[in-house]
Amino acid sequence: MALKTEEMILNMGPQHPSTHGVLRLELKLEGEIISDVIPHIGYLHRCFEKHAEAMTYPQVIPYTDRMDYLAAMYNEFGYALAVERLMGIEVPERVEYIRVIMGELQRIASHLVALGTYGADIGAFTPFLYCFRDREKILHLFEITCGARLLYNYIWIGGVSHDLHPDFIRLTRDFITEFKPNIKELNDLLSYNQIFIDRTANVAPLPKETAINYGITGPNLRASGVKWDLRKDDPYSVYHKFDYEIPVGSGERGKTGDCWDRYIIRVREMEESLKIIEQAIEQIPDGDVTSAIPKRVKPPVGQIYTRVENPRGELGYFIISDGSLNPYRIKVRAPSFVNLSIMGELCKGWMVADVVAILGSIDIVLGEIDR
């Protein structure tokens, strides 16, 4: 006679030290093994899309910052790119280079947060502080350019709001020289640590076809072995002028597409971003950064869907314009929104302690999920 076991429902509630924001995960457990995970979102819904319909196009930019608050430069970049393509504006080359430099610095900062908090979830408290120490240097660079550390309102439609500070290039070079040995230190401390590998390698591997069908993009897709990066496959701005690699997961320490792969892809992307920044600050031309900013932003009637490569995946802006000063409809395709929907599928059969590892490896930000 077999024992009848009941399913237990455990709530990892909206307030929890490691759900990366206000997210409620309903776990259906049989003992310690998970049979289903249902995410409940909407706790941070601030009606961005409805607000955008009441404001003019330039006024929407601070709102786009606040969606993915850890990668704010990229949100603005995507939006400005979409409106410029709709209006047919060409921006000066210096502006393009500045946007790329800011975007890549923001990518490094965002990955540092993701890696630090992932280590802290697994129990290694020290790499968290080392990552934040390096992130402080990047935030200082942003502060001298536009005055803000987290939410910038810097990339405007047709240009950027301020030109680079005179010390910016020198400080960026110093940052790059200081940061390269720190990546090595992070690798020694956390990435190749056997306990960390035991916790994350071979946990929840994501096969290629499932990933593409679920719409997963960004480092998660690349960790599953698909070499797809919008900077190379659908290039925008001046990314085609730089020489850099796209790291792809290959199951070094376990299966392809497991949590360790998703983690190490982010570390390697940081190294590639450093290469792009180095090349950009060598090649940056002179020019006037505010010359192409239009006085009134009034796009023609039409619609456009543009996408950029956010640190978390493919950030898409679908803008419908009816010829007036206010956008008719803005829909934001947030990468974390789509990435989170795979939690149920991915966690089946693993243990409660692994849920934290899996959620950390997907790297979500609730601000852009709920918008």
């Binding site: 009606c47 069908n213 009637v301 619609q303 869907y305 419908i320 929104f337 929907s341």
Partner: protein, 176 residues
Amino acid sequence: MKSAEEIFNILKEKFPGSVTELVADKPVDPFIEASPLEIDKICTFLLESEEFKFDSLMNLSGVDDANGEKEKDEKGFDTIKGGTLSVWYHLESIELKHKITLKVSTERENPEVASVAEIWRSSDWHEREAFDLYGIKFLNHPDLRRILMPYDWEAGHPLRKDYKNPEFYQGMKVPD
């Protein structure tokens, strides 16, 4: 790599009744209009056929076209009667590297669109969001309920152009 006209022509041959027209004159992307109840058959064809292989749905959004009659209802607020709601699909193929945009329009009073959630699993949550914010019902969706608003929000669908905030929600006053 196929262009929008080629895709439109092949689709028009295969689904003569459902695919209506290709609109390519407005900036920036050309889009194909299709019928709302047949969209799942069209999408299955787009996913599985060898020459298209649209294996990834980038985006699915609801739009309120607001092209009906504006009237005042009992309380004196503006509402829109008649007209359409539309759903826009942005598809791409990672293998063959081409993209296409589809649009379906459905009536405002009882909007119903066939669901593509079983074809591309990424559309599951996007369709829930379109249902939540516009009220578009997706037929055969595995779990159609609200996603961003609270599950028991009774006061309508917020992103419609004629939406008004309710006064009270569960006994709490809703701020302006």
